[in-house]
């Protein structure tokens, strides 16, 4: 470290009571009187965490040099100051967060000139740190901590009795400094990396949906598993779209760390925005591709995006450089056909062809990222087959996620992060039996359930539209009746019999005669839309029974 200077430098007096010492010859062997010198190179030290390592080094220095105080100050490159980091016999230095400007005082000059300095008499020397005087330290010896040519701090020892520190003492202190320097630097770097990892993880987590909205017509489950070391850019989203549609997307940003996490947040927002505009999966991915192309930094990502129509069970999907979705149905799992399309941001004017299928009641769509199926030395198709095998018996989206992870994720953890989204076309019961909160916002929920149920019963678009408005009007009546202060509910029942649909809406409020144009018109709609309507008003409540024959599709 400093031994090249040995030939060019002579001991010199800095004035102010400070003497620059010649750097000592490295100690080749333990000497009789200093057997503990070697203990600084004890390999066991490197196993210790930074605080324990510093503590141990300080103890050994104190013991080896028979000094009263030992202190380590670290160089803060931003403020150009030395900051007390660890101390023995001078704990106040750390507690008070002592800061010494580079180039001033005892430690400041050691750091600025990168030389060992000896002070025989603190009382008559230029010492900046008041604690050294308060502690009545008589003599001091300090050396710079240098790692790969960079100054990282200062290590100094002190004695309450005035004493000489000679070349042998300096050799011991330099050896300790040589040990402490790289250890501190390593700990600093890993702390910085850990910090970046933590920030990336936090960002990544904050950019995934916290909880998924309860959506009519589908059941959804998701998983995100971080990689063992790095934070990746895997993401997913599930959102409602107009007209009973649900969008489900999974993606993987190329790269790791904060920038990947930040990009995934932007992609998630961009995709959701284009989807809400009403674009289909293929066009939506193409627009996200144009968005990625327009970013100033070069970026690349893969994604698979599907739109499920909860009224008709139609599923439209497209992929951009992403692995094919899997559909689970009745004990079988099949890998969907995809037309290969380039990743987002890969080529100008990339096209994403769209595919369509029907995701029947109970069937499960599974989207995943490559971390789940990619294993070193194993073909990708083998991994995808293993996934299909793992999930084929799943009957719920939760099942599908759990089985995939149980079979494919190694116990030791992952090299790449994994995201999974699973969406099931909800099983539509033959009969509807619903208890619903008597609130206006319930109406849109009722209409979505009803449209899907009527579709499954074989009603055509005209039947569905007219019956939906009639039932919604009957529910609106029930909601208006509910003026109890406590949360009120009403009941809706529906069944089919020989091509006849019967729906009843029952509340426990008192019937109120139609007021003005509005409710009178509601009743007209119900009567006009259904073949047969009965309204039973009793002291216990009101029941509207509606029947209509469906012509069928």
């Amino acid at each position: 470290m400093a031994d090249t200077r040995a030939e060019t430098q002579r001991p010199r007096n800095l004035g102010s009571g400070q003497v620059v010492l010649l750097p000592a010859e490295p100690i080749a062997e333990p000497t009789e009187d200093r057997p503990s010198s070697y203990r600084f190179t004890d390999p066991g030290l490197s196993e210790l965490p930074i605080d324990a390592l510093l503590e141990e080094l300080l103890n050994r220095i104190q013991e080896a040099l028979e000094v009263d105080t030992v202190a380590i100050l670290l160089h803060d490159t931003e403020s150009k100051q030395l900051v007390a980091r660890a101390a023995k016999g001078l704990e106040e230095e750390v507690e008070r967060g002592v800061r010494i400007p580079l180039g001033r005082g005892f430690a400041g000059r050691i750091a600025a000139e990168r030389v060992p300095i000896f002070i025989a008499d603190v009382d008559h020397a230029d010492v900046l740190n008041p604690i050294l005087r308060e502690k009545r330290i008589a003599s001091l010896l300090g050396v710079p901590l240098i790692v790969e040519g960079e100054l990282i701090g200062v290590l100094h020892v002190g004695s309450l009795q005035a004493r000489e520190f000679g070349q042998a003492d300096l050799a011991v202190l330099q050896m300790a400094a040589a040990r402490a320097g790289p250890a501190i630097e390593h700990a600093r770097l890993s702390a910085a990396l850990q910090h970046e990892h933590d920030v990336s993880m936090l960002l990544q987590r904050s950019l995934l949906p916290k909880r998924l909205a309860d959506m009519v017509g589908v059941k959804v489950a998701t998983r995100y598993l971080p990689a063992r070391e790095e934070v990746g850019g895997d993401w997913y989203d599930v959102f409602e779209l107009p007209r009973g549609q649900v969008g489900v997307v999974i993606g993987d940003v190329v790269g790791h760390g904060i920038s990947a996490a930040a990009l995934m947040g932007r992609l998630r927002t961009a995709l959701h925005s284009y989807a809400i505009e009403g674009h289909g999966p293929g066009r939506t991915l193409e627009l996200v591709d144009r968005f990625v192309q327009s970013l100033s930094e070069s970026a690349m990502a893969t994604a698979a995006y599907a739109v499920f129509d909860t009224y008709t069970s139609a599923l439209h999907y497209a992929t951009a450089g992403h692995l094919p979705p899997v559909v689970i149905s009745g004990g079988e799992a099949r890998v969907l056909e995809v037309t290969p399309a380039p990743p987002l941001g890969a080529f100008p004017y990339g096209r994403c062809p769209e595919h369509e299928l029907s995701l029947e009641s109970g069937e499960i769509l599974l989207l995943y990222t490559d971390g789940l199926v990619e294993r070193r030395g194993v073909p990708l198709s083998t991994g995808i087959e293993a996934l299909a095998k793992a999930v084929r018996d799943a009957t719920t989206p939760e099942d599908a996620c759990a089985s995939a992870i149980a079979d494919l994720v190694p116990v030791v953890g992952l090299n790449d992060d994994v995201a999974i989204v699973s969406l099931q076309s909800a099983i539509v019961p033959n009969e509807l039996h619903l208890t619903l909160p008597a609130e206006p916002r319930t109406l849109s929920h009722v209409r979505r359930v009803l449209r899907r149920w009527l579709n499954e019963r074989g009603a055509d678009d005209g039947d569905i539209a007219e019956m939906t408005i009639a039932v919604s009007e009957a529910c609106a009546n029930a909601i208006e009746h509910a003026y109890a202060p406590s949360p009120a509910t009403f009941e809706l029942h529906g069944w089919a019999n020989n091509g006849n649909i019967t729906v009843t809406v029952r509340d426990d409020g008192h019937w109120r005669p139609p007021r003005g144009h509005n409710r009178g018109r509601g009743l007209s709609i119900i009567v006009a839309a259904m073949d047969d309507v009965q309204i039973d008003r009793t002291a216990d409540g009101t029941e509207v029974v509606m029947r209509r024959h469906i012509t069928g599709k």
């Binding site: 206006p440 919604s472 009007e473 909601i479 409710r519 509601g522």
Partner: protein, 122 residues
């Protein structure tokens, strides 16, 4: 996902309100109030474009009548855009209220009605 959306466009003589989504008792009053609030005094009236509405219930129909009344009180007209084959037309037909005011099939036809009328103040 909000149930409906209202997009407002101002043209020289009128305000065009393009409504999309579903209008029911949960949002009908808000939709109506949004349009009325946005209507400048100097406009001859409002073109309420219901061609993009997927669902309209009796509460929505009631609000349309209310809008017409408040615009009339300000000397302004309400023209509805309702295609003959549309969910809104179905609702009005079931309610027996096919023409809740002046109706045009397209926004262009509705604007032509304003253009042919003399500008206010002459």
């Amino acid at each position: 996902m909000s149930l409906a959306d209202v997009q407002i466009t101002l043209v020289p003589n009128a305000l065009i309100a393009h409504v999309t989504g579903e209008v029911d008792m949960s949002n009908a009053e808000d939709v109506g109030a949004t349009v009325i609030r946005a209507t400048p005094n100097e406009a001859q009236g409002v073109v309420l474009d219901l061609s993009g509405v997927d669902y309209l219930d009796s509460a929505g129909i009631y609000v349309i009548y209310g809008m017409r009344a408040s615009l009339q009180a300000r000397g302004q007209a309400l023209i509805l855009v309702i295609p003959p084959v549309s969910p809104v037309y179905d609702s009005l037909r079931l309610a027996g209220a096919e023409r809740p005011g002046e109706v045009a099939e397209e926004v262009g036809d509705a604007l032509a009605i304003f253009d042919s009328a003399p500008p206010p103040g002459t």
